[in-house]
């Protein structure tokens, strides 16, 4: 009914989708699994019209179609239930359901609220939600909002001739077990009205709900499994199975760390709703990798060490000192550096040039009485531009105009030049091409050799395994398992995945 034929999508430096063949039949529930970065979200964006494929065909009932935007896709019956909910919190439930389609209730320029409420009530009945459609959305629970979102997508039924395809992006990630079961029951009943594409990190749920499962890896569909056609282990194996080039991650450069020198120590640290009972030690020269799915608490651990979140229970010690009540300012003063995932938001100031960005966290070292020694800053920047072979025409280059890899180098230089010896790296290679990734791996090895302790949240499992001395698997805010990763005796992705999901 809905079909993709050899669909291709490229971004600068990344081949995101490679000749994807995909189809959904009427009333079918199709699962979609893959690691972070395997191309699931790109594929979904192509399906609901946010991206246009570069090659291949999209067919509905055998007829080729092309969507310029999500609205056009909706008019052909393709709806999306977003992971990050797309309801506007200060509007009422019915206004949200009919957002952008209020015209049907307008008489002589006036909205007939009663008619809209009646219609909204009918939509909510489809998802068995008995609430007042005039309620303000922010008052609903998370699970209720998810259902409202589903009801909103189901309004397509009345508007569109033909069959519906509804995408569910990680719909269960914040629901309780009972809520998940209710949602699944509902989705199964709704197959009389629509087909579903279900994306989730939780393998058991995907296997429970889906009629067929597409397994994606590196932008390609590597297998299609029918219900009962494979065990969870077999599917997981297909998601990650890849021969890793040991050279790629500089494994031969991995040296043992100094176990006598503890830089960061967390003792049963907890933060309600984020992490619980986290105990770990980071040593000088150690690369400690936090592994887990999105939202498992990896980031919260990083941010707690950096002082952006403060733990409510347990103890955090940085270089032996109690770090309770720390702010990022204190953390920086104690030699902690943080390379965030969102370079544009927390990594570099676009509009400021290279040397200004590099010294931003350490202006005290280059000033007296608040007056900066600019010549010194520039010399430092020139030095690091050379050291890391940053491609910038000079230290005056606007960081906003550098490529992603070079921006990342500037961020790393910012902390390293300031003498940080505890580095927190959150997806340092995200969005970088292969060459730039290798540069980052080299830098991580060099830092480790220089006695810097590194807490890493890696982009892929291979990266985590290849780079780290120690791997800690986190799930639902708790540490599941700790692995030692000496070269030659590293765990496999499959070992880790087992504890992740």
């Amino acid at each position: 009914m809905y079909q993709l034929k050899a669909v291709d999508k490229k971004f600068p430096g990344v081949h995101a989708l490679k000749a994807i063949d995909f189809h959904v039949e009427r009333g079918e529930i199709v699962g979609l699994v893959g690691e972070n970065g395997a191309g699931k979200s790109t594929l979904m964006k192509v399906i609901y019209g946010a991206y246009q494929p570069d090659g291949g065909q999209v067919l509905i009932k055998g007829v080729p179609v092309r969507f310029a935007n999500p609205r056009q896709a909706m008019e052909k019956g393709i709806g999306m239930v977003f992971q990050e909910q797309s309801l506007i919190p200060n509007l009422t439930v019915m206004e949200n359901i009919f957002l952008g389609y209020e015209q049907q209730f307008v008489r002589f320029g006036v909205v007939d609220w009663k008619a809209m409420a009646r219609a909204a009530k009918a939509q909510l009945a489809k998802v068995k939600l008995d609430i007042d459609p005039g309620m303000v959305t922010s008052k609903l629970s998370f699970a209720q909002r998810q259902l409202v979102e589903l009801a909103k997508v189901l309004t397509l039924e009345e508007r569109v001739k033909g069959d519906l395809v509804i995408l569910l992006d990680e719909p269960t990630s914040v629901l309780s077990k009972e809520e998940v079961q209710l949602l699944f029951k509902l989705v199964r009943e709704l197959t009389t009205r629509a087909s579903f594409i279900f994306v989730s990190h939780r393998m058991d749920e995907v296997m429970d709900l889906s009629d067929r499962i597409y397994v994606m890896k590196d932008g390609a569909v590597v297998d299609v499994v029918a219900r009962g056609g494979a065990t969870a282990e077999a599917i997981q194996h297909k998601m990650v199975g890849r021969n890793v080039d040991k050279q790629y991650y500089r494994e031969h450069l991995q040296a043992p760390y100094d176990a006598s020198k503890v830089l960061v120590e967390m003792d049963r640290v907890g933060l309600p709703g984020r992490i619980q009972d986290i105990s770990l030690k980071l040593h000088a020269g150690e690369v400690l990798c936090l592994v887990g799915t999105e939202g498992s608490g990896r980031e919260a651990i990083l941010r707690t060490i950096y002082g952006m979140l403060s733990a409510t229970t347990g103890q955090l010690r940085i270089k032996g000192e109690d770090a309770a009540g720390y702010s990022p300012r204190h953390a920086v003063a104690h030699g902690v550096g943080y390379v965030p995932r969102e370079r544009k938001v927390e990594g570099i100031v676009a509009g400021m040039n290279v040397y200004e960005n590099m010294t931003l966290s350490q202006m005290k070292n280059h000033s007296r009485g608040g007056v900066l020694r600019v010549a010194e800053e520039r010399a430092l920047a020139r030095d690091w531009i050379k050291k890391l072979s940053i491609k910038a025409h000079s230290e005056f280059a606007d960081c906003g105009n550098l490529s992603g890899g070079n921006q990342q180098k500037v961020v790393l230089a910012k902390w390293r030049s300031g003498g940080s010896d505890i580095m927190l790296l959150d997806h340092p290679t995200r969005g970088l091409d292969i060459g730039a990734k290798e540069d980052v791996y080299d830098m991580i090895r060099a830092m480790s050799a220089a006695g810097v302790g590194i807490v890493l949240v890696a982009d892929t499992l291979e990266e985590a395994i290849g780079l780290s001395h120690t791997i800690i698997v986190v799930k639902d805010g708790r540490i599941q398992k700790q692995f030692a990763c000496e070269p030659g005796a590293k765990p496999t992705p499959y070992d880790l995945l087992h504890y992740m999901i």
Partner: protein
Amino acid sequence: MTRRLSRETLIKWAPLLVLLALVIFFTALNPTFFSLRNFARIAIASAPALMVAVGVTFIIVMGSIDLSMEGTISLTAVAFAFIFAQFGGSLGGMGWIAIPLVLVLGGAIGLLNGIVHVKLRIPSFMASLAMGFVGTGAAILLTGGDIVKVSDAAFRGLLTVRWLGFPLMVYIAAFFLFVAWFIQTHTTLGRNFYAVGGGEDLAHASGLNVTRVRVTGFALAGVFYAIAAILVVARIGQAESVTGSNFMFVSITSVVVGGVALWGGIGGVWNALVGVLIVGVIDNGMVVIGLPDFVQDGVLGLLVIVAVVLSTDRKMVSFVK
């Protein structure tokens, strides 16, 4: 890439080109415009406005806005006149003490402004607007609505004593412009303004004390408003509760026309200078060619819209609140 660069270059130099074009335009219509006497007139009119514009530039670079200048100027001007009289009413005697005291007062008002904004978490435009009203009210309270004269010859020398055709106050304004430039480019504070304006989350994540930067910025702006107040008193020889009026429109117009981005992070004191001169030249030029002053306000208003339209990359801004 080249297109983007040329666009950036254009935006960078556009204000200066506009200024040159205006000078040529008015000179063509009336050659007396292009004379030292007339330039001195423009400089005198622009000197206090320049100080206000420089002060508010720091705030706008931080991505905030300060609307307290009118109240702050009125209050500091009146306070200056009173303190000056209190200490003998002469710059030759103890009257000079009024100058540092008033600068401190301006800084204190700005500090309060910043604290209200940051600690009570009130948007800067609202906090500063309210503080401005408080300042104007305090000025009325002090004067009872009267005008306070300052006629000390030594102090008025700021206006009357000329050097190379320009009165002393113009050099004083130039000196403080230089100070502002030094703060902007050579101090951690100046760098912090740009970091906060360019990305507040980032500044925080780099370990900056964003709260302190903001409060300090407002205090610094207050000091510059106080300098402006002293220059105004020197120019007109009196202080009253309406001394500060019209400075809000003129200064913010100047800063924006000069090319400082309202969302923060871009521009600086040179932009403020060029903007103040554009506004000064238009004001003066319209008088020289004989247009009524209400036309001037209209033209300035249009100019602000044009400047913002030119300087905003609307592809980047999804919606405007």
